[in-house]
């Protein structure tokens, strides 16, 4: 049996490690022929930025006629040490079960809906707080992404916050590059791309929210729904959350193509009322609208009261 040679090699490596504390993944190649990959080695003590590694290599490689050099590259395991693979994997029936579960999380969230009118868009949501002691003025479920784009969600609030933050940053980056406000379709696409990335990356789970994005740009009023899988659809009217099937049936009956913004707000309130448990009031719903002035606004409780009175 030929004995294997053991080589001491010195090599420099620069890499950023996130949470892989103890080990580095090593990939060694000889003139582009791969010798070993994905070997995990405990990090030796660094001496002057050099890492010392011991590698066992078959002696057949030490043919005196072979010229070349050994190249050892150090690549750090990305993501958390054991989870460089995705947790969202296909089931035998071709479904991504994690995404189905994410949609279930959305489906048990509070109802939210949106309606696109001929001259604007309205989005609305229930604002059921866990206790009467919660300061309802501090809870804002409807958020701005840009001055002319607003968003509401159904599902997990903290996931929503993260997405809003990322979307705002992307919108602002676009504005900084082109000195032009981002079109609604582009922002929706970028947000959906983020959500899709979290279904195909190592060590992360999909977002447990569906978003309704309402905006008004050069193409007119637009309403988009974005799902945890990263797919997005443009809707004339849509609902999500607990009461979705009743709400959608109601909207299908009530929606007309030439609806104006105020009619749409009335219809939105009536739709929310359909499945509402308890008394509807300006304290337990939130409404946001955008008109031809291209400014997205969340209605104040006083304004909501006015609309509620008109609807009664």
């Amino acid at each position: 049996m030929e004995s294997d040679h053991v080589m001491m090699m010195r090599t420099t490596a620069t890499f950023r490690t996130r949470s892989c504390d103890d080990c580095v993944r090593v990939r060694a190649s000889l003139r582009r022929e791969l010798l070993c990959a994905n070997s995990f080695y405990k990090k030796s003590k660094a001496v002057n930025f050099h890492y010392f590694l011991r590698l066992s290599l078959p002696s057949s490689l030490f043919d005196p006629y072979i010229e070349g050099f050994f190249e050892v590259s150090l690549r750090c395991a990305m993501g958390d040490s054991q989870y460089s693979f995705s947790l969202t994997t296909f089931s035998p029936s071709g479904k991504l079960v994690q995404i189905e579960h994410a949609l279930t999380a959305v489906g048990s969230g509070q109802t939210s809906l949106g309606i696109k009118a001929s001259n604007g868009v309205v989005i609305a949501t229930e604002k059921k707080l866990p206790s009467i002691l919660v300061d309802e003025a501090s809870v804002q479920k409807i958020q701005h992404l840009t001055p002319n784009i607003g968003v509401v969600y159904s599902g997990m609030g903290p996931d929503f916050r993260v997405l809003v933050r990322k979307s705002r940053k992307q919108a602002e980056q676009y504005n900084r590059l082109y000195k032009e406000p981002i079109p609604v379709t582009q922002l929706v696409r970028e947000t959906a791309t983020v959500m899709q990335e979290f279904t195909q990356s190592g060590g992360v789970r999909p977002f447990g929210v569906s978003l309704l994005v309402a905006g008004y740009d050069d193409k007119g009023p637009q309403l988009y729904q974005v799902d945890p899988s990263g797919s997005y659809f443009s809707w004339k009217a849509s609902a999500m959350g607990k009461n979705v099937s009743n709400a959608k049936t109601f909207l299908e009956k009530r929606y007309t193509e030439d609806m104006e913004l105020d009619d749409a707000i009335h219809t939105a309130i009536l739709t929310l009322k359909e499945g509402f448990e308890g008394e509807i009031s300006s304290k337990n719903i939130e409404i946001g609208k955008i008109g031809a002035d291209k400014v997205f606004r969340v209605l104040t409780p006083a304004e909501i009261d006015d609309y509620l009175a008109e609807v009664e």
């Binding site: 900084r176 590059l177 082109y178 000195k179 032009e180 079109p183 379709t185 582009q186 696409r189």
Partner: protein, 206 residues
């Protein structure tokens, strides 16, 4: 003789605003200092039917920067399903130039286009992206000082396409005649909302 990098290849580019139209013109000489290499060098390029960019300065950067900008615009067209407005395009060029702040592209772009409502838009910037908008004309290149003088003297606001062509051609040819590094004719584009007219000028061929 000290070598100035912006004067290595020689160039002259000018753009002028007319009534619902614009004209952009450049010389055609490509040289290596005192030697002339080509007499048909393309300095003005079309980004789309309503936006043109003329690049003066080092020829290699002119070509590379043009390729990068076309790349970015094509992707923009595919994603957004529309053409870039000239103001947006100018902001993009400015950002791309500033990315290379400490190792810049050695060219000065001149951007001309028709914006919303067919309103003409022109601007120039330095090699690191400082935008300069103008209402009448913009110039760049080795012949820029002569061009400033000629344009100032010959320009009138609200000229129609034919008169604009005459004016910009005269301004270009008289300026490059005074500059040894640019010349060998001219290349003029006059763009109106309905058509793009491209014309080659024959001037002093030297």
């Amino acid at each position: 003789m000290a070598m100035q990098i912006f004067e290595y290849n020689g160039s002259a580019v000018v753009a002028m605003v007319g009534k619902n139209c614009f004209a952009i013109a450049s010389d055609r000489r490509l040289g290596v200092q005192l030697q002339t290499i080509a007499t048909d060098f393309q300095r003005i390029s079309k980004i789309h039917d309503r936006v043109f960019i003329g690049l003066s300065g080092l020829a290699t950067d002119v070509q590379t920067l043009y390729q990068r900008l076309v790349f970015r615009h094509k992707l923009y067209q595919l994603r957004e399903e529309r053409d870039m407005k000239p103001e947006t395009f100018a902001s993009l060029v400015s950002a791309i130039l500033y990315e290379k702040r400490f190792g810049p592209y050695l060219c000065q772009p001149v951007i001309a286009g028709l914006g919303e409502d067919d309103k003409p838009f022109i601007c120039t910037m330095d090699s690191i992206g400082a935008k300069e908008l103008a209402k009448d004309f913009v110039v760049s290149g080795t012949a820029s000082e002569s061009l400033y003088g000629a344009c100032e003297a010959m320009y009138k606001p609200d000229m129609e396409a034919e008169e604009l062509f005459e004016t910009i051609s005269q301004a270009l040819l008289s300026s490059v005649d005074r500059d040894c590094l640019s010349g060998w004719g001219g290349h003029v584009y006059v763009v109106t909302p309905t058509e793009i007219k491209e014309r080659i000028l024959k001037g002093r061929m030297d």
